[in-house]
Amino acid sequence: MNRTLKKLFSNTASLIGIILLFIFVIIALFAPLIAPPLTDDSYQIPRMSWEVNPQPPGFPMSEDIRAIYDYMGVEVRYDKAIFGTAEGGYDIFYGLIWGTRTAFRVGLITVIISVLIGILVGSFSGYFGGWLDEILMRITDIFLSFPFLVAAMVLTTILGRGLDKVMIALIAFGWMGYARLIRGSILATKEETYVTAAKALGVKDVKIIGKHLLPNTIFPVMVQATMNIGSMVITAAALSFLGVGAPVGYADWGQMVSFARNWIIGAPGHAGQYWYTVFYPGIFIVLFVLAWNLVGDTLRDILDPRLRGEL
């Protein structure tokens, strides 16, 4: 374990990944200080104007919106759109800062629950074998028969808009990889002598799985989980981009990009006029996903015994 950590920190690629992740954690933790919320619902992106067109970086809050906050008795501690505004006057900076929390929540929750389901299905299937294995694996095959994005989109459409629905859809079609991985590893180790010995001693099945079999698969599962956090966040963002994800105005990176969709080409004669609507959200998403992939990619190389000593 120590060796793994040391390698993670000494490899340039993964060091960059770790530093990026650290920055994102800071942003997520201190979101209320970096972008103070103006209403009780801090995930609702404040609007800086009622304009439909995006407004350039540095755009100050318009007078009529300020008047509303004054009327409501809210102290406006934050009145400039540093990164400009998206379609409809939504502040890009605010959306990105609070969107970091959304990204962590979506990525971590979906991956952790998917891994748990994968452990359950995979270990039962691999350990008990027989007809249970056959049934569970065929069910896995059926869930794997859908392109991930299509399946998530269909389920979200049916369940209705909202971040919780998106997460349910991502989990429902995200556990199969782990189940197969864990099943394979358990099949490979369950005939080992130490497992037979534990069985002969009368150790309970659940304990054998948990104590003797699962620890062997922990590393490959960790690698896959790390890399999947990025792709879960991408898929959630893609759903928002398609207009079936988070509700309008919710601090979510995919939604920020979706706001940019109609403006990316710019007005005739002013190509690239609205570059900031896709540039800033794009940077946030790419760096976040890249950070997880860099760490995951290095983890895989470190834990691959065939490549040991070559890094």
Binding site: I142, V154, V257, P281
Partner: protein, 345 residues
């Protein structure tokens, strides 16, 4: 070998049945009224309680779950997939009309995936750990981290917004006029590039190609990145094998070792991954077509999802799952044909 193929073929109907069952479960999450709406052309009929009851009876929407499933399957077998509000036509008609556009996009995207992915992967492995390898590898990871919808918007921004090279859509207006109104133009395959060539219309072929380049790039770049990674690691593995050392020891030149001895064996696992990547592009068409207003299945289903047009969305899922199951079957069988070790098992 034969028994393996037979087993896979026997499993096929079971998987397909499971797929339809899962989709029907999703469908059942909707209320009877919402389910009814998927069969109705005219929303006005839903206002009259009597006609609603008649329609519920007609489509067996009150039936218990197992019976409802059987009736639903019966309708699907007869291609009665309901009415698409978004396309304003029956769902099956909407699908057959849009399928060629999507097929054309996917077919063209296979070429860069296979060529570039494998080519760069081999180069990367041969130059293991030096500058070239690191550059290719980092590019692949960055490419992998760049979501399709951002990459697509960037392509649109650069090549249409600024350079005006690759416009969105499928054809320019003048070419559309020829396609839809000219009596001389005959559509043989509904793949516009091929039809244009068959009709000897070179400007139209070029126009169609011009519209395809940006979506192809967007749809395929993630698959290159993945294929590159697999080719690289497979090639690295193979280059460490004993028989390669033997070949080098007996003085075979490096070029022959890499291209004749190593690459052939290294590409065996790559074939599966390439197949899976090509199948995986099916999911990507939704985003790609939406960004470039490309009038295929993906564009249609994205707007259907936004407008809660359930019949279209569910039929799309059914179609793509079927395509994916068939695709996986082909990949598995071809893998068994290529790799003698699998054949012997």
């Amino acid at each position: 070998m034969l028994s393996y193929i037979i087993r896979r073929l026997l499993l096929l109907p079971i998987i397909l049945l499971g797929v339809t069952f899962l989709i029907f479960c999703l469908f059942s999450l909707l209320s009877p009224m919402e389910r009814l709406a998927t069969y109705v052309h005219d929303p006005a009929t839903l206002k009259n309680p009597q006609s609603v009851q008649r329609l519920i009876d007609k489509y067996h929407l009150d039936d218990p779950f197992p019976l409802g499933y059987i009736n639903w399957i019966k309708r699907i077998i007869h291609f009665d997939l309901g009415w698409s509000q978004t396309a304003n036509q029956p769902v099956w008609e909407a699908i057959t009309q849009r399928f060629p556009a999507t097929l054309e996009l996917v077919l063209y995207s296979i070429i860069p995936v296979v060529l570039v992915g494998i080519w760069l992967g081999v180069i990367s492995a041969v130059h293991h750990n030096d500058m070239l390898d690191q550059t290719i590898r980092v590019t692949a990871i960055v490419g992998w981290s760049l979501p399709t919808f951002i990459f697509g918007l960037l392509i649109l921004f650069i090549f249409y917004g600024i350079l005006e090279w690759f416009p969105p859509g499928r054809l320019s207006t003048w070419a559309q006029n020829i396609l839809y109104t000219s009596p001389d133009f005959r559509s043989y395959t509904h793949l516009i590039t091929i039809d244009a060539l068959l009709n000897g219309n070179i400007p139209m072929f070029l126009d169609a190609l011009r519209h395809l380049i940006a979506p192809i790039l967007t749809l395929s770049y993630i698959s290159w990145a993945e294929l590159l990674r697999i080719t690289r690691s497979s090639m690295l593995d193979t280059l460490r094998k004993d028989y390669i050392r033997t070949a080098r020891a007996k003085g075979v030149d490096e070029h022959t070792v890499i291209h004749l001895h190593a690459r052939k064996n290294a590409l065996i696992p790559v074939v599966t991954v390439a197949g899976m990547q090509i199948i995986g592009m099916l999911g990507g068409v939704v985003i790609t077509e939406t960004i470039f207003n490309y009038p295929g299945l993906g564009f249609w289903v994205a707007s259907s999802a936004q407008q809660l047009d359930y019949s279209s969305v569910i039929s799309f899922a059914l179609l793509f799952a079927t395509l994916m199951v068939l695709g996986n079957l082909i990949v598995d069988i071809s893998y068994a044909l290529i790799d003698p070790r699998v054949r012997l098992e």
